[in-house]
């Protein structure tokens, strides 16, 4: 890392540069604003400085989240960088080696920390974090990985968010320490350990990018729920924007009297030019069919959650899951919005795996035709998500063709990379004749697809 130029302006610029690297769109005008703003606030006071910068640089909730993460890291690093350059030794490290403390003294310390966490006393927590590291986290025992050390110290302190009823009643840890306070405390310890590491090695650890959106779809059902939610909300907003662009103004039917009259003034009150009302777009009707056998289950549930989060863009939406037979799950999504709860309910209630637990596409098409065959019409869209692996059973592509011919549009989403298609028992080629097949194993691909889907139907495809 090249050493950044000195001075506040230069620091700000390199901060903006880092934000840009994380995908926050910062233009020159934003930077000019930031400087203009800094003339109005006391930038020696961290709270105002930070808020003022955030107001000018981070223009959405997502940007703001990245801003918060980077702000701490950047200015922390900037300070450390300066310290390393100047060779300043931070005072306050002379707490010395406290590992000699007796067990009762250690207990008193544990008690004191837990009490501070319960009270949420910021200043006390910071000092105690330093003390805790001096006591429990000597360098020679340290694993070198900060996250591991933090957790080790937390365990040594006996801090847990859950109640610990076996402790004596006067112990502040008995009812569990507040979760946020615990998180803040861990953050402080992390910061302190980082600082020590920097001081020891005399250089900064490499900074890691935060990028998140380009990751593969969650593969474990409970993997990083927060990330899933974030993606869903983000998608939702993007789609809402995108939907608007394509609406209306295509074919017009009704004369807008008011606007016609206004236009007629150009011609002295004679309505020569007719003005029309924009036509409201038709929202598509959607039938989603998702494979929930173990190989693709999380991709399916994730996809269903995304679609249900967007249900207002569709006129009607019914969702089914299948393994050997199919089962409707529209209601599950109507009532539960928690990703975890949904996947649990699908696996427990849907009752889709009968005997072998292997996907049986032939039977699925048959049951699907029975269930919705009469409802399908040219304005309906059918989406299938599955890996098209039949486990050697008859794919019955003819039945699928029948579904596809009754529906207006048919899509197939395959959560396997295209490289693996048609290898082994994958028969996607047989179905591909009747539908558009998409590769869909990253969030970006999914987003592309959902975009295409929510675009209003212009004319019904035969």
């Amino acid at each position: 890392m090249p050493s950044p130029p000195e001075g506040l302006a230069a620091q700000l610029l390199s901060f903006a540069e880092q934000l840009r690297e994380e995908g926050v769109a910062i233009g020159t005008s934003e930077l000019l604003d930031a400087f203009a703003v800094l003339r109005e606030v006391e930038w020696t006071y961290q709270g105002e400085f930070r808020e003022a910068l955030a107001a000018t640089l981070a223009k959405s909730q997502d940007d703001r989240r990245i801003f918060e993460l980077l702000f701490d890291r950047f200015f922390f690093r900037a300070v450390e960088m300066a310290a390393v350059r100047e060779g300043v030794e931070r005072p306050g490290d002379d707490t010395g080696d406290l590992s000699e403390l007796s067990e009762t003294e250690l207990d008193a310390l544990r008690m004191q920390i837990a009490q501070a966490l319960r009270d949420g006393a910021e200043g006390a927590m910071r000092d105690l974090a330093r003390l805790a590291i001096a006591t429990f986290g000597q360098q020679e025992q340290g694993s070198g990985v900060i996250g591991v050390d933090v957790q080790r110290i937390r365990r040594a302190l006996g801090l847990r968010a859950e109640p610990q009823p076996e402790l004596p009643p006067d112990d502040p840890r008995r009812d569990g320490v507040p979760r946020d306070a615990l998180r803040r405390f861990e953050q402080m310890m992390r910061r302190e350990l980082e600082r020590r590491q920097v001081q020891r090695s005399g250089k900064l650890p490499p900074s890691r990018p935060l990028g998140e959106l380009d990751r593969a779809l969650p593969s474990g059902p409970l993997q990083d729920l927060a990330a899933v939610h974030r993606v869903v909300t983000q998608l939702r907003r993007r789609l809402a924007t995108q939907g608007r662009q394509n609406r209306g103004y295509r074919r017009h039917a009704h004369v807008d009297v008011r606007r016609t009259m206004r236009a007629s003034l150009q011609t002295g009150g004679v309505p020569v030019e007719l003005r029309y009302r924009p036509r409201r777009p038709k929202r598509p009707e959607i039938y989603v069919l998702c494979d929930v056998s173990t190989s693709v289950t999380s991709a399916s549930v994730f996809f269903l959650s995304v679609l249900h989060a967007l249900h207002d863009s569709f006129r009607k939406m019914r969702s089914f899951v299948f393994i050997e037979r199919i089962s409707e799950v529209t209601d599950v999504f109507a009532h539960e919005r928690d990703f975890r709860a949904v996947s649990e309910r699908i696996s427990s209630d849907a009752g889709v795996a009968d005997i072998s637990g292997y996907t049986d596409y032939g039977r699925v098409w048959m049951e699907l035709l029975e269930l919705i065959g009469d409802d399908l019409h040219p304005r309906a869209t059918v989406i299938v998500l599955g890996d098209a692996r039949t486990n050697g059973r008859d794919p019955r592509a003819d039945l699928f063709g029948q579904v596809a011919s009754q529906a207006g549009r048919t899509f197939w989403l395959n959560p396997e990379p295209q490289l693996y298609w048609n290898y082994g028992d994958s028969v996607i080629a047989a179905y591909e004749r009747y539908c558009n097949a998409f590769e869909c194993w990253t969030v970006a691909q999914l987003e592309e697809f959902v975009k295409a889907l929510t675009r209003p139907v212009v004319s019904a495809a035969g």
Partner: protein
């Protein structure tokens, strides 16, 4: 009349004096908006006081509030200005038939025939105003593009009349409920403020400000319960306005404590969806019952 704040602390006390308790960042951004004359884009969930902020600012700064409520299909004619064509038609008809077209044309495109809509009146106003463009996310992108000229130069061009530019600098607030992503171009011209549900102490202060007679303990309990309810995954989490309503309802009922029974009776003030009510009754109601059992009063 008009207050001229000198720091964000001034804005904070000023807003508090007109019945709006701003958070630190709100006060700061409001202060910057008055200083730099840049529009502020306020985003956040429904009912956290976005619109209220604009009203409070107008009261505090002693400026008139001009509000433009956006909706799908809002166009320039309803936002900027419109020729009063009925009047123009009447004028043409009232004209004797021998008057030349030239004279009539000169006549009918005068200010007398112009209907000023909110943006126009904000810009043409002699006194500085607070302009609130509410729920900008409800409009389409074309309208947003049209706003760009207004927001960056504070001027409007009318082909028949010429350019109207503002003599004073209005404080502009745009609010958005996040139902769609706004364009980068618009965001670029604004300061950004995210309003979220306030923390417990802050909300307690707000509730006390609006329902001063409410018992201290009840108020404390109320904000805790509301906080609990917000933690649940609801269709519509209770807003600040609803906590205030609830506080007033409890005051009317003369409640001494929020126990399970009171909660179930008055829950409909803060929760407004049937499915939500089930969830809340189940989770929060139970929790309340437990705590009452644990500490018999």
């Amino acid at each position: 009349m008009g207050a001229e704040p000198a720091s964000s602390a001034d804005v904070a006390t000023g807003l508090a004096s007109v019945g709006y308790l701003p958070s630190e960042s709100t006060a700061l951004v409001a202060y910057l908006a008055t200083k730099l004359g840049k529009p502020v884009l306020v985003e956040g969930p429904a009912g956290v006081g976005k619109t209220e902020l604009a009203k409070a600012l107008s009261r505090y700064l002693g400026r008139k509030l001009i509000r433009l409520q956006c909706y799908e299909g809002l166009d320039e004619a309803k936002a900027l200005y419109e020729w009063n064509y009925r009047k123009q038609l009447l004028r043409i008809q009232a004209e004797a038939s021998d008057t030349g077209w030239e004279t009539v044309q000169q006549d009918i495109f005068g200010e007398e025939f112009l209907l000023a809509r909110p943006l126009m009146s904000a810009i043409a106003s002699e006194q500085p105003v607070v302009l609130l463009i509410d729920e900008i996310d409800k409009t389409d992108q074309e309208f947003e593009a049209m706003l760009l000229e207004v927001l960056s130069d504070f001027q409007i061009s009318i082909p028949e009349l010429g350019r109207v530019s503002s003599t004073t600098h209005p404080v502009v607030l745009l609010t958005s409920n996040n139902s769609r992503e706004l364009t980068e171009a618009l965001k670029r011209r604004c300061l950004y403020l995210w309003l979220d549900y306030p923390c417990l102490e802050h909300e307690l202060a707000i509730v006390k400000l609006h329902a001063p007679d409410l018992d201290e303990a009840v108020a404390q309990r109320l904000v805790e319960v509301v906080g609990m309810v917000r933690e649940l995954d609801l269709k519509k989490p209770p807003s600040i306005a609803e906590s205030i309503d609830w506080a007033r309802a409890l005051l009317l009922l003369g409640a001494k404590d929020i126990d399970a029974a009171t909660f179930n009776e008055t829950m409909s003030v803060i929760v407004k969806h049937r499915t939500d009510m089930d969830i809340v009754a189940e989770r929060v109601g139970l929790k309340l019952a437990e705590t009452v059992d644990a500490q018999p009063a």
